[in-house]
Amino acid sequence: MTGSFRHSSLRHSRKTQGWLYAAPTAVIVGVLFVAPLVLVVWMSLNRWPLLGPATLNAPDNYTKIAGNPLFVDSVLFTLKYTAITTVLLSALALGLALLVQERRPGVGFFRTAFFLPGAVGFAAAALLFYGMLNADFGPIDPILRTLGLIDEPVKWIGTPNMALFSTITLVLWRFAGFNMLILLTGLQAIPVEVYEAARSDGAGRWQIFTRITLPLLRPTLALMLILSVTGSLLAFDQFFIFTNGGPDNSTVSMVMVIYRDAFFRFDLGGAAALSVVLLAGLVGLNTLMMRRLR
């Protein structure tokens, strides 16, 4: 009887202890993640102007989304941007990682050089590109002109395709080094013995890359893809600062539309509904990717 009581008391005490250990994290998750999420969902069910009282209007904020051509266009544009960026970024980061994976003289310099743009704030990088590509005072056009590559100023952000191209160049410059670093950790986790065994079996470079490197790099590639796809779908700074959504609304991302509804049109309910839709899309896409890439 006493033993049973002691056992039960110990179990109870451990349970309480467990709750106490988990409490700080639970509070942080509750306050910073769950509560805002619940509130945003609640806001999306209300007419919630930034400067006035809220009134329940469900499901108006959701039904009007389909009639918002700017958002519909932004979904298509963001998906296009995400697809192009993810493919190019993955290829470039993998190429860079393969270049600098082995310890050779000078490789440290190149690793640092490739990673360095990642140390520049993204907003600052966007403003930097805006200035550098300006035909009137930026250095790029005069350099190209001196080299005889162009005769007249290049409209870097003057046409929809050029604006997208220039933005993707900015993103590649800014993030290739960071993604290279992620892949580098994956590459270095592959045991050297596996490569040695493959070589002794007569495998060539291409076979080693496709049969050894890529399969063993799969978890790291999956992480990079998820980060890249999520980051691209949430793209904001590069378009808000660099292209301002232009020319003629051709580079408006989904988050830009949310920002516009919230802070230009003061319609928090509508912005919250768009946020919920975007969140649902992201959760669905990431679940799918996790399943496929696992």
Binding site: A35, L50, L51, L127, Y130, F263, R265, L279
Partner: protein, 418 residues
């Protein structure tokens, strides 16, 4: 509580901005009071000078926070929702009606009525700070659109360097002459404008409409008149300049941040500029200043800048008013603003001991009473929003299919009434 949590929610989930700072805690009545004030970066220099001068001569102190211009509206709006506004906050004058209608400013009617120079305060700013006969704001800083011309380039192009343009057509002729005579090599251009910036269009094009006797909106700010002949004629002149290559090559892409940065480099012949930049032009640059004219004459200006009011949630209204009323006093206007070539908030001080030294400053000050500041509750979302209908209208009119202007004008009107 709900608005505060709502502010937290939008900040956290959208990860865009924060609503921190501000406040206005009640302080002891007998001791010195520190009041908080917000202003936007665009008018930072003037605000800092006023605050510094006030703090050096008063027991009460003003603590100024400068917020990036592009982020100012969201910050004010988020702070208002969370009841975290500072004691005083300045605002781009065109957004004042919206803030006033939402009850963000304290009613200052009786206090303003006690000022001996109440009838001499910048009329456009005072008009936009008045709602239902009650007054809520004072003029804080003034920024007028005027034409600057580069006298050296005028002389090199064979134009009279002492005679600026008197009509918009003459402006186009001067710009074309400079481009033809000096434009070879692509370094010097006749003129420049912000072709992908809604705010730039209203600031620099609309005064030509007013100068010609036209209007851009009805007085209530609910109907756009930007498809009328007075506006389309102005668009057509600028379109002609762009088509002929007289404007700088990046005019079509210019989003606003750098549109005023070309003239000081000495590469632009004549262009509309903010008057506040006169004081920061290179000392050795010979610059002429002219009012903006219509196609065939007249003169006007967009009276921009900031108004300032006491926030409705302040607990330091008396201390806040003490600073506010001081900023429009003779001392502050002449010894702080005029001394630094800033435009004055009072029409009776236009010709003071400092401005008299520079006829260009006298001219700019005299335009305060002639210019206009358009009124519309939905001004920002209609005219400043890069994705809004106005920018599309202006770009079609200047670079694209001008036949679309009437249809886009209907969208501008729709945005004004939504």
């Amino acid at each position: 509580m709900r608005p505060r949590l709502a502010g937290m929610a939008i900040v956290t989930l959208l990860a865009l901005t924060t609503a921190c700072g501000g406040g206005g805690a009640e302080q002891p009545a007998d001791g010195p009071v520190t009041i908080t004030m917000w202003t936007r970066a665009a008018t930072q220099a003037q605000s800092e000078r006023l605050v510094k001068a006030y703090n050096s001569g008063h027991r009460n102190q003003v603590k100024l926070t400068v917020i990036p211009t592009d982020n100012y509206q969201p910050r004010v709006a988020a702070a208002a929702g969370a009841k975290q506004l500072p004691d005083l906050f300045a605002s781009d004058v065109i957004f004042v009606p919206n803030y006033t209608s939402q009850g963000l400013f304290l009613d200052l009617t009786d206090r303003i009525a006690a000022l001996p120079y109440r009838d001499k305060l910048a009329p456009s700013h005072m008009k936009l700070g008045t709602m239902d006969g009650r007054q809520y704001t004072l003029p804080h800083t003034l920024d007028l659109s005027v034409w600057f011309w580069n006298k050296d380039l005028y002389a090199k192009a064979g134009l009279d360097p002492e005679q600026g343009p008197k009509t918009l057509k003459e402006f186009a002729e001067h710009a074309t002459t400079i481009d033809e005579k000096l434009g070879e090599g692509g370094k010097v251009h006749g003129t420049f404008f912000g072709g992908n910036c809604g705010g730039c269009y209203v600031f620099t094009f609309w005064p030509s409409v007013w100068a010609a006797g036209g209007q851009v909106m009805n007085p209530e700010g609910t109907t756009s008149l930007n498809d009328q002949a007075a506006m389309t004629e102005v668009f057509a002149i600028w379109r002609g300049l762009y088509d002929k290559g007289v404007t700088g090559p990046t005019a079509k892409e210019e989003q606003g941040p750098t549109w005023a940065g070309f003239f000081p480099q000495g590469e632009i012949g004549v262009m509309p500029m903010p008057s506040t930049t006169l004081g920061v032009m290179p000392a050795d640059m010979k610059i002429g200043v002219a009012p903006i004219s219509g196609p065939d004459g007249g003169e006007s200006t967009f009276v921009g800048g900031d108004s300032i009011g006491v926030s409705a949630t302040t607990r330091n209204a008396d201390a806040a008013w003490d600073f506010l009323s001081w900023t429009v006093s003779d001392e502050a206007q002449v010894e702080v603003m005029a001394k630094n070539k800033d435009v004055l908030a009072r029409t009776d001080l236009a010709g003071n001991k400092y401005s008299a030294e520079d006829p260009r400053v006298v001219l700019i000050n005299s335009l305060v009473a002639k210019g206009e500041t358009p009124y519309a509750l939905r001004f920002g979302q209609t005219f400043n929003d890069p994705q809004g209908p106005w920018l599309r209208l202006a770009r079609e009119a200047v670079f694209g299919d001008a036949a679309k202007v009437p249809q886009l004008n209907a969208e501008v009107t729709k945005s004004l009434t939504q």
